[in-house]
């Protein structure tokens, strides 16, 4: 095969990007994969090869890892349903001709641009009755619901849901923006034609908006899954740690194993396993949505 000058030149242009991508993504990935097959404390120059033993331990002997995965799935489900529903509804509202819609757009996008640590600390101040202003409980009392007053962040029954709600509050702005962009590219003529044919608003929504928004919904869902499953800074700021395992999530587990247990090899194996889980979830979601679109 003869490589012409233009092809060579093009390869030459992408060389810096390829070098950077290789150094910072490809090589670390293979290095982490290699480390995941060793028993290594991260300090000693010698590593003990254990093959797939670390993966076997993750699958069969590490209930705290699966508890962390379960917690992350729970937060993700709440985010998928609540956060995305809220984002979609607000996008629908802002897509119409309402007053101050630019103001709303800006306001809805404030939470996602704030640091997770800042959001976590602010909400801790709002929620906590121990070291915060206890605003939620005070509001419940003032609206005549004193029976709902609760230690939201220090009760194992409510702590994870509280974390999920705060996470959804912080994350809905991204979904809102993407949904809004998706809604704005749907041709208005379609709605007008449907109206002429006697379709109600609900019919238009069901038969035009939803089918045309499926690719956007899939995109937002995949981004939500990937973002939420990897959340941890918000939890650290909000609860301080793993709260007897109730707020343990995969990234926190990996950090704990690496930092406190000095098991770098095992932490790498957890990282690889977690990556595989995320890829599988995203792939399933993509296939399901593709089938739905085809139908």
């Amino acid at each position: 095969m003869r490589i012409n000058k233009s092809t060579l030149e093009n390869y030459f242009f992408i060389l810096p990007a390829v070098i950077i991508f290789t150094i910072f993504y490809i090589i670390p990935f293979f290095w982490i994969f290699q480390l995941s097959m060793f028993d290594w404390d991260g300090i000693l120059p010698t590593k003990i090869f254990v093959g797939l033993q670390n993966f076997k331990e993750i699958i069969s002997q590490d209930p705290s890892w699966w508890q962390a995965i379960g917690n992350a799935v729970y937060i993700t489900l709440i985010a998928l349903i609540l956060q995305n529903a809220l984002a979609f509804l607000l996008a629908l509202a802002c897509d119409r001709e309402i007053k101050m819609k630019n103001f709303y757009r800006a306001v809805f996008f404030i939470p996602p641009v704030l640091s997770e640590i800042v959001v976590g600390m602010a909400w801790r101040f709002i929620i906590s009755g121990v070291d915060g202003a206890n605003i939620i409980n005070r509001m419940l009392v003032s609206v005549g619901l004193p029976q709902l007053v609760h230690n939201w962040l220090s009760d194992p029954k409510t702590v994870l849901t509280t974390v999920a709600l705060v996470h959804s509050w912080k994350g809905f702005g991204w979904g809102f923006l993407i949904f809004l962009a998706g809604l704005q590219i749907i041709p208005k003529e379609l709605y007008e034609a449907a109206r002429v044919d006697g379709a109600s608003s609900w019919d238009s929504f069901k038969k035009i908006t939803i089918p045309l928004m499926v690719p956007v919904i899939v995109l937002v869902s995949i981004l939500t899954i990937l973002g939420t499953m990897q959340a941890f800074a918000l939890i650290l700021a909000l609860v301080g740690g793993e709260f007897a395992g109730h707020t343990s999530v995969p990234v926190l587990r990996i950090l704990t194993v690496m930092r406190d247990s000095s098991r770098f090899g095992y932490a790498c194996a957890q990282g690889i396993s977690f990556g595989v889980i995320l890829v599988i979830i995203s792939f399933i979601q993509y296939r399901l949505s593709k089938r739905y679109r085809e139908e």
Partner: protein
């Protein structure tokens, strides 16, 4: 030769912005693209290969007589800088203190630097004894035994024995390290209980006679509760503090030897004595002895609550003297041992080296570093450090000139023990299971017996894995 090189010109110019050998005319965009792309590429390539020339740049400046120190102690940074200035004017050696905080990030930095062999001349290490031994085996820590023991151990004898002990590896240790002393304590700490004198008085308790036994403690909690005063606070989301109190009571209930036998795997965590230890936390839960939300609380929050008089007792380390002074200078409090749950064995508290400095064995400035540490741990500098930071000095001679509350902490050094002086270390995952188990007891999810069995299962699994 020149002709030979010239023959390559078309090839070389092919990848240059201007090519006199090329006859076709390029568009202005193509020229622009080429003229900026090649310099950018060169920068990347040079930058990339330039990165390869790193290494212990800081430690290679012996000619300039510069010693680099890494630490995580935000509260001591200003004092270190002041001491560095004093040392430079005295000896001409420049001390560069570099602060990396918070401590979690510092730990990661030290590990990364160890892997890349870019550790500074002197550094602090936040790690258990097992990791400490790995640093030594990897050649990152100098053996300071000779220096400490010269002149009839003159330098060594200035320190509290426990403070040296946490940096010492003995021949019969399980770590497989050459026996010796590998670190210099710069201050010491004990972790004990503190009580608010005013709140005790308000509840009708004697502010000068805090509870000494578990029964007295529970009775005091009841009286405090009756007066609307909360009991004890501690930052138990930082699980090592739970581990600390639990091991205090393990020493008190079953004695040091049995604790060591448990770590060795000869006594099970399901032993009745261990269940008694776990049961103390269940009793604290049942008697509402703990401030609500204690296991979701960082220690800084716990310190704020105690300093602001929101609860009567705190479980905290001697570093708190400085913290409380900053939060509430008028706080009237005393220091007490955790109330004894058994009279069989003496109560123990965690104590020993609060912070130690290690010397990089690969540093070309090793001698300069050791000389500086000798100066830093001399009485005058230790008094200066103690008075400025309200931490307990590592040098015993400096104790005469410290505040009364700190002196109380210092008096209790005789009860001090530390996991790092036991000669064996528990597996980190077992400690994690124990700490999380106690958290579960406190929130009423598990019984002491359940926790004991769960911890034992993990212990057996780890022993099998590490056989």
């Amino acid at each position: 030769m020149i002709d030979f090189l010239k023959s390559f010109s078309p090839l070389i110019y092919r990848y240059m912005p201007y090519n006199p050998y090329k006859t076709d005319r390029k568009s202005w965009f193509s020229k622009f693209r080429n003229s900026i792309s090649y310099p950018i590429l060169c920068i990347f390539v040079l930058g990339f290969f330039g990165c390869g020339q790193n290494g212990p740049a800081d430690v290679s400046s012996a000619a300039a007589k510069k010693v680099v120190v890494w630490h995580w102690m935000t509260d001591r940074e200003d004092v270190f800088q002041e001491l560095a200035r004093q040392y430079e004017s005295l000896t001409g050696v420049k001390l560069v203190f570099e602060l990396f905080a918070p401590s979690d990030q510092y730990s990661q930095k030290i590990r990364s630097a160890a892997q890349g062999q870019t550790l500074p001349d002197i550094y602090g290490l936040l790690a258990d004894k097992r990791d400490f031994s790995s640093f030594i085996k990897a050649g990152h820590v100098a053996d300071l035994t000779l220096e400490l023991e010269e002149n009839n151990s003159a330098w060594k004898n200035t320190f509290f024995p426990n403070a040296v002990g946490v940096n010492e590896f003995k021949a019969d240790d399980s770590y497989g390290v050459k026996p010796g002393i590998y670190g210099i304590p710069i201050d010491v700490m004990t972790i004990e209980m503190l009580y608010n004198k005013n709140l005790l008085q308000k509840a009708g308790l004697d502010p000068e006679k805090p509870p000494a036994t578990w029964e007295e403690f529970m009775a005091a909690i009841e009286k405090l509760r009756a007066s609307g005063i909360q009991g004890m606070v501690s930052g138990w989301v930082e699980v090592w503090m739970i581990d600390c109190l639990a091991s205090n009571y393990a020493f008190n209930i079953m004695g040091k030897e049995k604790v060591i036998e448990t770590i060795k795997g000869n006594v099970a965590y399901t032993d009745p004595d261990w269940i008694k230890v776990f049961d103390l936390f269940a009793q604290m839960r049942d008697n509402q002895a703990l401030v609500p939300g204690v296991i979701a609380m960082i220690n800084k929050t716990a310190e704020q609550l105690f300093a602001n008089g929101k609860c009567a007792f705190a479980f905290n380390g001697s570093w708190c003297v400085n913290v409380y002074k900053g939060m509430n200078p008028d706080l009237d409090y005393g220091v007490m041992l955790p109330p004894a749950a058994s009279s069989k064995f003496p109560m123990a508290v965690w104590g020993g080296a609060g912070s130690s400095f290690l010397v990089n064995d690969r540093s070309p400035n090793k001698e300069l570093a050791i000389e500086f540490l000798k100066w830093l741990t001399a009485k005058e500098q230790q008094v200066f450090l103690a008075n400025k930071t309200q931490n307990l000095p590592a040098n015993k001679e400096a104790l005469d000139e410290i505040s009364p509350v700190l002196a109380q902490f210092a008096n209790d050094m005789k009860y001090a023990t530390h996991p790092n002086i036991l000669g064996v270390s528990e597996f980190p995952v077992v400690i994690e299971a124990l700490d999380k188990g106690i958290q579960s007891i406190i929130i009423g999810e598990k019984t002491p017996r359940q926790v004991a069995f769960e911890v034992q299962i993990i212990k057996e699994r780890e022993m099998a894995r590490n056989k």
